[in-house]
Symmetry: C2
Subunit: 191 residues, 2 copies
């Protein structure tokens, strides 16, 4: 799969690295999870978006229609499941910035949740897409948490791109699965 | 906590056993999970109901309103999380029948999902409330699956109450948590 891309600069590594260009991160991860499930590698699902339902109509001879509802703030992360017998839990975030990933992208209760997961023996991380560079990183929760804690002291409200280069793990793209993030999980958590 | 109950018959064991009388099973489990979370015992959440959103309005100066949406069939179970370092996954079902739990209460893809979870090293079961008896049982997935498989051959489309007495595990009710289901998990899966 090759793609023509108008602006080939520093971060373009190879054609495979651009396979998912323009696709929403959520779709890319969902597709990868479908592949992992179908191949009996892992069972990881996206949790449905939490909705506060206010009004429901029941028209005759047809199914219930929700006619008034609101988005709720999620109390946990987007994804969880089981891999190699371990509980796995992560959040996925797109980043459109050039030099840093703003911490405001992550809700405080998601930080609390992931911290708790790790304490209980689970695997927790954040997948961040750097959309300008078409790069995907697995950011271990511990690293995110360090920046989160420091932000309270030093006022820095983001994680620099450099920190991703040094302390996060680039996820390889491919055709199947689109995002080989469990390969990175193998390297980071099972070695 | 004592309750007056008009029809004290065979299945009334003690007052504590009726603490949750009339409450929806989902609420009872959610309350229990809140207790388990607050006391750092387990991290188990109900997944939001999956909704297909068709139309969203964005009124000025107020938040987005979903004005047309439909319920979707869930592809997994209601609850999952981590307990004692293990992945845990279960479905919760109310049963209003007197002598049997109809298997049609469980979707085929939920059976498939739980089967898969166990294969991958997780803990999987179904919590069934027998509303007429005010009893709650942890039904190991393996037992449910046996009946599910047999139903294809012998046409029996339910699990008899007797089978619950013999092969499922009565869950103790209390004030905190409302349903001590992790105590049963300890006995069934950690001994």
């Amino acid at each position: 799969m090759t793609l023509n891309f108008p602006n080939k600069k520093a971060h373009v590594k190879n054609a495979a690295n651009k396979a998912n260009l323009g696709m929403a991160l959520e779709q890319i991860i969902n597709d990868s999870n479908e592949y992992y499930l179908a191949n009996d590698i892992a069972i990881i699902h996206k949790k449905p978006t939490p909705i506060q339902i206010v009004k429901v109509d029941y028209p005759m001879r047809s199914k219930a229609v929700i006619t008034e509802a609101y988005y709720k703030t999620p109390s946990t992360t987007d994804y969880n499941g089981i891999y190699r017998g371990k509980y796995i839990d992560f959040e996925a975030k797109e980043n459109h910035n050039k030099t840093a990933f703003p911490l405001k992208n992550i809700h405080p209760h998601q930080i609390e949740h992931l911290k708790n997961i790790i304490k209980h023996g689970g695997i927790g991380f954040i997948i961040v897409s750097w959309n300008l560079y078409n790069e995907y990183y697995l950011l271990p929760f511990e690293v995110a948490y360090e920046y989160w804690n420091n932000s309270i002291e030093d006022g820095r409200k983001s994680i620099p791109y450099d920190a991703f280069k040094k302390r996060a793990f680039l996820i390889e793209e491919s055709y199947l699965p689109r995002l080989k993030y469990l390969k990175v999980v193998d390297e980071v958590y099972f070695k």
